[in-house]
């Protein structure tokens, strides 16, 4: 019962804020609505028992990515105070494409009576390390550093490369 109330509140918030992101004319307002969407998605993560991921979502998306967006908006408008106005082009075609996507995905979502369950269990050799984790965070951390260590290291190198690239691209011309 409580989950239903929370789900409906969050779903309405997410959809309304997402519509705000794609239809508002003031770019800063779009960015703030995106912040609302990201908070709503963090709430959905909490509902699904992914509490660590919810904290990570707020910490990375809302704090870092949204601030990048806000800085980009502020740095790319004339500092004299004219606000950036965003206009939408090709609205009917865009609507058609979006509704087409939506139709396909809803068809896939409703066409199966039930989705097949995962086949991995705690007795798999690579997952046995998870046998006595106390909570979701410990499970996440343990799995990340045992089974998914290679993607983890790759993500670290990727972040380093992205950071260096962003700094070089955005530097003032010497």
């Amino acid at each position: 019962m409580g989950e239903a109330i929370a789900f409906w509140i969050l779903a309405v918030l997410i959809v309304a804020a997402a519509l705000g992101v794609v239809t508002l004319r003031n770019l800063f307002h779009c960015a703030l609505c995106l912040g609302l969407v990201l908070f709503g998605v963090a709430g959905i993560f909490v509902l699904n028992g992914a509490e660590f991921l919810a904290g990570v979502q707020v910490l990375i998306y809302v704090v870092a990515t949204l601030v990048i967006i806000l800085f980009a908006v502020m740095l790319s408008e004339n500092i004299t105070g004219e606000r950036i106005r965003v206009v939408s082009y090709n609205r009917p075609l865009g609507l058609l494409a979006a509704l087409g996507f939506l139709g396909v995905m809803l068809f896939l979502a409703f066409s199966q009576a039930s989705f097949p369950a995962h086949t991995s269990s705690i007795k798999d050799p690579s997952l046995q390390v998870l046998t006595d984790v106390p909570n979701n965070i410990a499970a996440f951390g343990t799995l990340l550093l045992t089974k998914f260590i290679v993607p983890f290291e790759f993500a670290s190198v990727f972040l380093l490369v992205a950071m260096i690239g962003a700094i070089i691209v955005a530097r003032m011309a010497e």
């Binding site: 779903a11 997410i14 997402a18 993560f45 990570v56 908006v73 950071m163 690239g165 962003a166 691209v169």
Partner: protein, 105 residues
């Protein structure tokens, strides 16, 4: 009413479709990248919901780890993307993706 996997799939589908609409209709580069962020978040909702409903053991969080990697990579992509937008604005004084076409002959 109990919330099933279908509820989360529909929510994620709607969010994804809104992101597609945003990417296709907006010509401002920053607004376009915001639509991409919406699509990535829709995929994350999908992954986490499927991990919860289709994996009966709460300790196996493979879906959440996948979503975590998507968050990390999306942040890196946003950083580089917006750095590019700032660089383009600094050099061309406009960020309408239809007009940034100086490489076209």
């Amino acid at each position: 009413m109990s919330i099933t996997l279908t509820h989360y799939l529909v929510l994620s589908a709607i969010l994804f479709a809104i992101g597609v609409y945003g990417v296709l209709t907006r010509r401002n580069a920053i607004a376009l990248l915001m639509g991409v962020e919406l699509m990535l978040n829709a995929v994350n909702i999908n992954l986490v919901a499927m991990n919860r409903f289709l994996q009966p053991d709460w300790r196996i969080v493979t879906g959440q780890i996948f979503a975590g990697f998507i968050i990390v990579l999306a942040a890196a992509e946003a950083a580089v993307g917006f750095a590019l937008v700032i660089a383009i604005y600094r050099n061309l004084d406009r960020i309408n993706v239809d007009e940034v076409n100086i490489l076209k002959w």
